[in-house]
């Protein structure tokens, strides 16, 4: 039977894992198309590692089905599954040199010595580290180990490669570089990657599709842009990217726009984006710091339907990602606003008065009580 080109490389159907009474993974279904980079993004303890360990075969699901290239694999032990895993701390074999590390899986397949040597050299070339065959694991840098760990799996040509927060142990600069490199490696090997992380920027930069996971369920599956611009749940709005949040009561709904009176009495315009909020409902409104325009005078923000004036209480200078905290003149909580670095606001200081404004469509509204506990995302940047 010829392989169906539309058949997803990995499919989970109603996957559930219970530990005693606690559902770590609760009825999760998803499909990963062949050759794509799929990320599962969620805070620690949301069940993402449990999903990964079930796919790898180290955990037995309580119920549900896992299919790889259309074939159910639940009865297949981990060493026979066509998936390989890059572990959080890489788990390279410290007792072997690089060549033996990469050749380990091939030796298990009973491949000949010459063939193994040829394949190892080829994959080392591919990851840009030719000639390190006889080096020891501890002689490599963090980024090199990373690439060797991927090569060790890729040499086996798995249908799906699982990556469990492999960048967590690297320093920031290297992590930034490895993000780009991982994406390039995925394209070069043309293999399906399933990547697990709690770091939204890793997921946003690398993935074709991202599933945001919380408390054992998928909140939303979509592209990075969809999650960022059109979060479907309050959790996604709060977790992906940074955000300002106000709670209040819906006053008026008009098509896909609404007006909401915050607890401090400020009237704001937002958009429910089809979430069916009605007048009188308690709701929360989420606005990203970078969706807010800043100006020195009222004329600069005239075009927007939400306008405010405030004074700078804190300047959070961070190069391109600089922000200010603004105390609105009308009272209420401080607002976090991105500060453009085009030079216009270079001399902004604490106490300066600024005008801010944003379009009503940028204010994502959700029914109250469905979002994460804090207004700003737990893992910023």
């Amino acid at each position: 039977m010829p392989p169906d080109p539309d058949c997803p490389d990995l499919e989970c159907r109603a996957l559930t894992k219970r530990f005693d009474d606690f559902a770590a993974v609760d009825d999760v279904s998803f499909a990963v198309p062949a050759g794509s980079f799929f990320s599962i993004l969620g805070p620690s303890g949301c069940g993402k590692t449990t999903i990964m360990r079930m796919i790898a075969g180290f955990l037995e699901p309580t119920s549900g089905e896992i299919l790889i290239k259309g074939k159910p694999v639940l009865d297949v032990p981990p060493n026979k599954r066509p998936v390989n895993m890059v572990f959080q701390h890489l788990a390279l074999f410290p007792m072997m040199n690089i060549e033996d590390n990469i050749g380990y899986g091939l030796r298990r397949k009973g491949m000949g010595r010459a063939e193994i040597a040829r394949k190892v050299d080829a994959v080392l070339d591919r990851i840009g580290l030719p000639g390190i065959n006889t080096r020891k694991v501890e002689e490599l840098s963090g980024g090199q180990k990373q690439r060797v760990a991927i090569a060790r799996c890729m040499v086996l040509e798995p249908d799906v490669l699982l990556l469990d927060e492999p960048l967590g142990a690297l320093d920031l600069k290297l992590r930034e570089r490895m993000k780009v490199e991982l994406k390039a490696l995925q394209a070069a090997f043309d293999t399906t990657f399933v990547y697990i992380t709690h770091d939204q920027s890793e997921a946003l930069v690398m993935s074709d599709q991202i599933a945001v996971m919380n408390a054992g369920v998928f909140e939303q599956v979509g592209t990075a842009q969809e999650l960022y611009y059109r979060p479907e749940t309050a959790f996604v709005a709060g977790f992906v990217g940074d955000t300002n949040r106000w709670a209040g009561r819906v006053e008026r709904v008009e098509g896909d726009a609404l007006e909401l009176r915050t607890e401090n009495g400020i009237l704001m315009r937002g958009a429910p984006h089809g979430r069916g909020l009605r007048a009188g409902d308690r709701a929360e409104i989420y606005v990203r710091p970078e969706a807010i325009r800043v100006a020195h005078d009222a004329a600069g923000v005239e075009a927007f339907d939400n306008r405010m004036q405030g004074s700078v209480t804190t300047l959070l200078f961070n190069g391109a990602a600089s922000r200010v905290l603004l105390q609105p003149a009308t009272g209420g909580e401080e607002i976090e606003v991105a500060l453009p670095q085009s030079g216009e606001f270079a001399d902004t200081q604490k106490g300066d008065a600024l005008h801010i404004g944003w379009a009503g469509a940028q204010g994502n509204c959700f029914a109250a009580g469905t979002g994460p506990a804090s207004a700003s995302a737990p893992e910023a940047g």
Binding site: P78, F93, P94, M95, C153, L156
Partner: protein
């Protein structure tokens, strides 16, 4: 300042130096000197290799010597074979409380003195002992069975006595192996056997070697267990040394025996390190 740190260094080193020189180096030099003299008359001695020649000319001595070496190596191997799965279970499979409890269970027999422990085995193994009675009661033997005073009894005693000294280093080295490394071994296609052979055992090698060295030396130099469980039919080399010194008052021959035992254990430990490609520094450090 420098003078005072130097003084401190010397003061700290003094107990160690005293220990080494008074208890180890000086007695050994003296023993060596005793071993190379020959009594030619009353209080008349000559330097000669006669004691060593006696050893090689008397088959009983030579045979006991080799038997002790082979039995000690065997005891070490058996201890390793029993202790390895036990340690693997404690270090990698048992979790939390169970792990601590199992470890303590290995330790508990050592709260009792070796003499009492060995008597315990005698109670079990002697003609009127527990096993003998059990066999008779079950109808498997029609008269009392003597299980003491043979090589198997010695082996049981030695393995039992040494177990902890193998389990401790093995558990320590195996605990330092990341679980993810074992999982990676399976994930990349390995089965239980190959993961054991290529990952767990190479990682545990320093523990295996250091445990083996300790167990081997303890077995080779053990006096109590072979004497009590082996009796007269199963001689141990330490018994020969004891009888030369205490029974026969032939300190010269006894010293020569002692020196030969030291050479033997050094040789076997060196060979063991060479064989496994380990250095003493790696193993003990």
């Amino acid at each position: 300042m420098r003078a005072s740190t130097k003084l401190g260094f010397i003061l700290l080193l003094t107990p160690l130096l005293l220990w080494l020189s008074l208890l180890i180096i000086i007695p050994h030099i003296d023993m060596f000197l005793v071993s190379i003299r020959e009594r030619v008359g009353v209080r008349e001695y000559e330097t000669s290799a006669a004691n060593y020649l006696t050893f090689f000319q008397e088959p009983l001595y030579l045979r006991t010597f080799l038997r002790t070496a082979v039995m000690s190596v065997l005891a070490t191997l058996i201890t390793l074979i029993i202790a390895f799965p036990v340690s693997y279970y404690i270090a990698k499979i048992a979790k939390g409380r169970l792990q601590a409890v199992l470890f303590v269970l290995c330790l508990i027999p050592f709260y009792v003195s070796e003499l009492v422990r060995t008597f315990g085995w005698m109670i079990l193994l002697r003609e009127t002992g527990l096993f003998s009675n059990l066999l008779q009661w079950a109808g498997l033997a029609d008269r009392p069975v003597e299980m003491l005073y043979n090589d198997a009894a010695i082996m049981i005693g030695l393995v039992y006595t040494s177990m902890l000294f193998m389990v401790v280093p093995l558990v320590t080295t195996m605990e330092s192996l990341d679980d993810a490394v074992i999982e990676a071994g399976y994930d990349l296609g390995g089965n239980g056997l190959s993961v054991m052979r290529e990952i767990v055992i190479p990682h545990a090698t320093p523990g295996i070697v250091s445990g083996s060295i300790v167990v081997f030396m303890l077995s080779l130099g053990n006096y109590l267990t072979p004497t009590m469980l082996g009796g007269k039919d199963s001689l141990w080399f330490t018994e020969l040394i004891y009888s030369q010194f205490i029974v026969r008052f032939n300190w010269e021959l006894g010293a020569a025996f002692g020196f030969l035992l030291l050479l033997l254990s050094s040789l076997i430990v060196w060979g063991m390190l060479r064989l496994t490609g380990q250095t003493l520094k790696e193993t003990m450090g």
